[in-house]
Amino acid sequence: MSVPTRPGGAAPPLPPLPLPRSPGGGGRQGRSPKKRRVNESISTWRLTDRIGYVLMWAAGLLLCAIGIGILAYMAFKGVQYLRPQLVLTSPTADIDQSSSGGFLDPLLGTILITLIGIAIATPIAIGAATWIVEYGRPTWLARLIDSGIEIIAGTPDIVIALFGLVLFQQGIFGWMSFTATGGAVFGRSFLTAGAMMSLIALPMVFAATREGLQSIPLHIREASYALGKTKAATIRRVLLPSVKANISTGAALGMGRIAGDTAIIVVLLGASLTLDPEGDVPGLNVLKGTGGTLTSYVYNNSPAGEGNAPQKAYAAAFVLLLIVLALNFAVDLIARSGAKTGLETSRLGAR
């Protein structure tokens, strides 16, 4: 039986290590009159540690400054030019800024493309993540899927856009976009752009879902099996509901990415000023048609583009920033509420 050694036990106490004292030290001996707690002083640190410490602070402050700077500048410029009228009227091509309308269409375009992209990405990502975590056999296939998604995540959006253009100009995808009388497929539409946009959001939803599923301890699954439930029932009724917060977080992040993307809009959506429906089936015609989003609108109206209406560009950019910030805020909110009810606070540790 081992008795824990107590201070003053059998072992003779070691002599104190000759450690250097802090120059301003001596505070621990005797009480200072003001009863101030003596904190660790940076002056005792090595020079390299001190430099590193200062650099870390500087980096943090710099990032803060950049973030606040962008926000403040955009808010200043945006609020200055933002009028309700701008959000409510469609743009028209006019060299005169006072009669070139607002950016209702691009705003709708952003919302539409974001919804299409996330609607395609989420189920696929959840399915892939669930398969990888809960089945994952054969291993080589799981690894293949994993690397596939990694490749998608690492591919620049302009490459994805060009790939999409080549892909959707194939005859079998003719139903997704405008097809000329000769049979040439245009390949640009909300559907095709949305499909490619889903690739941008997919890795984020996938990673979030997978992480969530992996954090569920094994004994939760066993508890379900022990009740005579099948694996499918366990996944549907226990596991996926538990990772709802993770899925929403991933989806919100992915939506932010879609809303902010420009390359796919320019290549695959036409980046036109207004929504240009295609065909006469209501609803489908918009999806089959081309259009633009806030990103392409900002680009076109910026000094770099041809519209040259920088004030409207600022206003639109501000709205876009608000949308993305709102999505980020939603992520935070979801993550926090997830922490309240999710597994993290449970008494069960991972096995």
């Binding site: 039986m1 301890p217 004994h219 939760i220 066993e222 508890a223 379900s224 099996y225 022990a226 009740l227 005579g228 439930k229 099948t230 499918a232 029932a233 549907r236 009724r237 226990v238 509901p241 538990s242 009810t341 999710g342 597994l343 606070t345 449970s346 008494r347 069960l348 096995r351």
Partner: protein, 319 residues
Amino acid sequence: MIDPHESTARTAQTTDEPANGTMPPPIRRITLDSQPTVALPPSQDAVAIANTGDRSLAAAGRPARGVAGPERMTISGLSVYYGDNHAVKNVSLPIRQGEVLALIGPSGCGKTTLLRTLNRLTELTGSARREGLITLDGTDIDSLEVTEHRRRVSMVFQQPNPFPMSVFDNVAYALREQGSKRPKKKVLEPYVVDALQRAGLYDEVASNLDHPALRLSGGQQQRLCIARALAARPEGLLMDEPCSALDPKSTNVIEELIVELRKELAIVIVTHNLQQAYRVGDHVAFMYLGDLVEYGPTDDLFDNPKAARTRDYIGGAFG
């Protein structure tokens, strides 16, 4: 065999606080169970720990023995291997309705493995291999559909493991068909309430069945898990150290529950707490390194253990 005085003693004890000496002192929390992963050979330690209990006190707080009913499950020649590790060696045991079978033995002797095999959960472990026959009401359990078998023989784990959903949904999940959302809440409510009542939890959660289960206390969570296991009206209940994470009071509640439930169920309980085995067990099986060393009625096994190893392990457990 049923002594009326004993049962009155038990009823009296349920209303009393544990501190007034009608039941053994809650020594177990700080002793055998505190570190279940550390192998505890039947050493002087165990004897010394067990010695602190008092047999007469334990007997006073002990419920009457159950009346052995029909044999529901039979284990014959069961061996379980994890790869090369022979975890359960040629074990044969009967499991009867109306009584509680307590499995005791030092850590790592294969109790959990045996229990999980009865529920066919070992099959989920890739490296595990099983030999021997287990029957449920005379039918080889391998020939039963595995989900149906697990519904008939339910399991409660050492760690409380409620699902991250509401109290109601935890129980309702067990009642519903595979993955279905039907029947609706209204229809299920009486069954859920019944299961919670049988598990002795209902009064504490009645006001808020939509409360997230993970915010219940550990003891409440464990009773919720029992309610969940009972909801589908199983015929057998396997409990793997159900009280090891609980305080003496919750332990007491669950022990009473076990004694109550054995009338309708065949119960197997794994425990490191010899006093618990003595209190709730009608038969006790002592395992050592995968072998079933001794099996017999609780009183016989504790009074005059036949095997030397059993004697060493429980030796003087009650002074």
